[in-house]
């Protein structure tokens, strides 16, 4: 790429961040994510405020380079996991379809997690209860492209009345994944659906 174009793009990206995202601490107890998924937390989680995504939430405990907990709540037929803007036409946006099986949903998440060129590998996929549904649980590893850190992740998903509910936690393989895993599993076990208002 022409370096000038690259520089300009970077500038546009930086200037475009008009509303800086901030982290807001979450109180222990029940939290309802985007009014659709109720979970119980033990505190020490912060939520990214200003994401401007109606169906996607990002939480962290020790900061996003060290751990991230993503919620995708009520993704409907034809929607993507996250809001995608200005994507080139030759990069079709992977979209959710209600007839997707667990493997398809993991692939959908993979396309999101490897969009920067990260190497994603599914390690395990098994049936699991999640959000009052017969869903699935998956484990994966990922080499994060930006800094080549080896990550581990666990996700829970379920499709309820044609809508996808997905919760995915990811942290560096060394220390941080194991540190938070029991807390994340507890959150997954506590998840309950809320019907649309």
């Amino acid at each position: 790429m022409n370096p000038k174009v690259l520089l300009l793009t970077l500038l546009v990206v930086l200037v475009g961040c008009t509303k800086p995202a901030t982290w807001v601490g979450l109180a222990p107890g029940e939290v309802v994510v985007h009014e659709r998924l109720a979970v119980r937390i033990d505190g020490a989680w912060s939520r990214l405020d200003g994401l401007q995504e109606p169906k996607h939430d990002v939480w962290t405990s020790d900061g996003t380079p060290l751990d991230q907990l993503h919620f995708h709540t009520g993704i409907a037929e034809g929607e993507s996991l996250v809001v995608v803007k200005d994507r080139p036409a030759d990069k079709p946006i992977p979209r959710f379809r209600k007839d997707m099986q667990a493997q398809d949903v993991v692939e959908l998440y993979e396309s999101f997690a490897s969009r920067d060129g990260s190497v994603f590998k599914l390690e395990k996929l098994a049936p699991a209860r999640f959000a009052d549904e017969d869903g699935f649980r998956f484990e994966f590893s990922r080499v994060r492209k930006s800094d080549e850190v080896r990550m581990r992740g666990v996700g829970y998903g379920a499709i309820h009345h044609g809508e996808l509910f997905l919760m995915v936690f990811e942290a560096p393989r060394i220390h941080y994944f194991a540190k938070h895993l029991p807390r994340v599993e507890a959150i997954a076990q506590s998840a309950h659906l809320r019907e649309k208002a």
Partner: protein, 388 residues
């Protein structure tokens, strides 16, 4: 900034480099003596030091292929081309699905797996490596560094590398800053001559170009606007003419009856090809992937692996009629012994969605029989239970 696009652009720089503008003989050029390490305080010494640091980073990278046999095979091709310069060159195979190779002035040669996957034979791989060796032997990067116009661009690239990420950075530093057309012409011709001297049929270089153009055209046909982003289309509008000139230059060198070594390349990548095809699909460049897999399945109709991945590409593209195309490709693959067991899982998924439970059970059963410890075995077993 989308990193993948950035990397791809760099890949195209090198692809464009190989394919180059109108060929012209590098008249009077002879293989120079081995390059001595420049004094540290010179500009060339600084460039080498920078590349040494990049090379150290590359050695640590999880994207580096650590298969001694594979790396040794590619290095042997490099040596065959570089002749007496071989002791000065280190070859690294980098796991990335993009078509790319580049060589840094300090002797660091990178070959990306997307290039190896696309080569039909060793001669085609040698064509790209030979072109890069050509830049190295002619010390083109130094000339670019000393060229005032490119110096500021080069500096900008260096400053931006951390943003692009380590892998993209390596590509940019080692070969991403564009060479001049004169340099490309020279490297094209040197590459062809090195190929001929090493015993490879030079005409294979033109075929690499043809295949790449076919892939880009297929992407353009599929998306309608590949031309707006591809370096090849954007900056080299007369690619067809160049293709013809490259072919003419190769024909002038003769040696068309030399063995392009198709089997040798296939053997060298056998244990990796499947993983690289998976990487290829993750690019989500369906036009290019379909052109590649169409070529592979046409070249060898018994290639069950390629047939399976052709089905996977249609399934992931999920356009009108793609489900039927995927099913047809899977069914063809399932009848071939070289298909991976995952073809049965893929069939199982389609049968389950269509409510064809007996077929689903048979397909999933075959998958689990071949891969009882598969990462998704538990999930599949739950489908078999629900299917009665």
């Amino acid at each position: 900034m989308e990193r993948r696009h950035f990397i791809e652009t760099c890949g195209c720089c090198s692809a464009a480099a190989l394919l180059g503008p109108a060929l012209r003989a590098a008249q009077g050029w002879v293989v120079p003596p081995r390059l001595a390490r420049p004094a540290p305080k010179t500009d060339e010494g600084g460039l080498w030091a920078l590349m040494d640091r990049e090379e150290e980073r590359l050695r640590q990278s999880p994207f580096l292929m650590r298969d001694a046999a594979l790396t040794g095979y590619v290095h042997a091709i490099t040596c065959r081309l570089a002749q007496a310069h071989c002791p000065d060159i280190r070859t690294y195979v980098v796991r990335s699905p993009y078509f790319n190779a580049n060589m840094a002035p300090n002797g660091m040669m990178q070959v990306w797996t997307g290039l190896i996957l696309r080569a039909e034979n060793e001669a085609q791989l040698a064509a790209v490596i030979g072109h890069e060796v050509g830049h190295y032997l002619a010390r083109h990067s130094l000339e670019r560094l000393r060229d005032a116009k490119s110096r500021s661009a080069f500096a900008s690239v260096l400053g931006l590398v951390p943003i692009a990420g380590p892998l993209a950075g390596l590509g940019v530093l080692a070969g991403g800053f564009a060479y001049s057309r004169t340099h490309e012409r020279a490297a094209d011709q040197i590459g062809l001559e090195l190929m001929a001297a090493a015993g490879y049929p030079p005409l294979e270089a033109a075929k690499v170009w043809t295949h790449l153009l076919e892939e880009l055209q297929a992407e353009k046909d599929w998306t309608g606007d590949a031309s707006t982003r591809s370096v090849l289309f954007a900056t080299h509008p007369t690619e067809k003419e160049r293709e013809a000139k490259l072919e003419a230059a190769a024909r002038a060198l003769g040696k068309a009856d030399l063995d392009p070594q198709a089997q040798a390349l296939r053997r060298a990548m056998t244990s990796w090809r499947r993983a690289w095809l998976e990487d290829e699909l993750k690019r989500r460049k369906f036009g290019e992937s379909l052109a590649l897999l169409g070529r592979l399945t046409a070249a060898d109709p018994q290639d069950g692996e390629a047939a399976y991945f052709l089905g996977e590409t249609y399934r992931l593209r999920a356009s009108q009629g793609d489900a039927e195309r995927a099913l047809a490709a899977y069914q063809k693959a399932a009848a071939l012994p070289s298909a991976p067991p995952e073809v049965h899982r893929a069939l199982g998924v389609l049968h389950r969605k269509a409510g064809r439970l007996p077929e689903m059970r048979e397909a999933y059963g075959r998958y689990l029989a071949a891969r009882p410890e598969a990462e998704d075995a538990e999930m599949i077993r739950s489908y078999l239970k629900e299917g009665g």
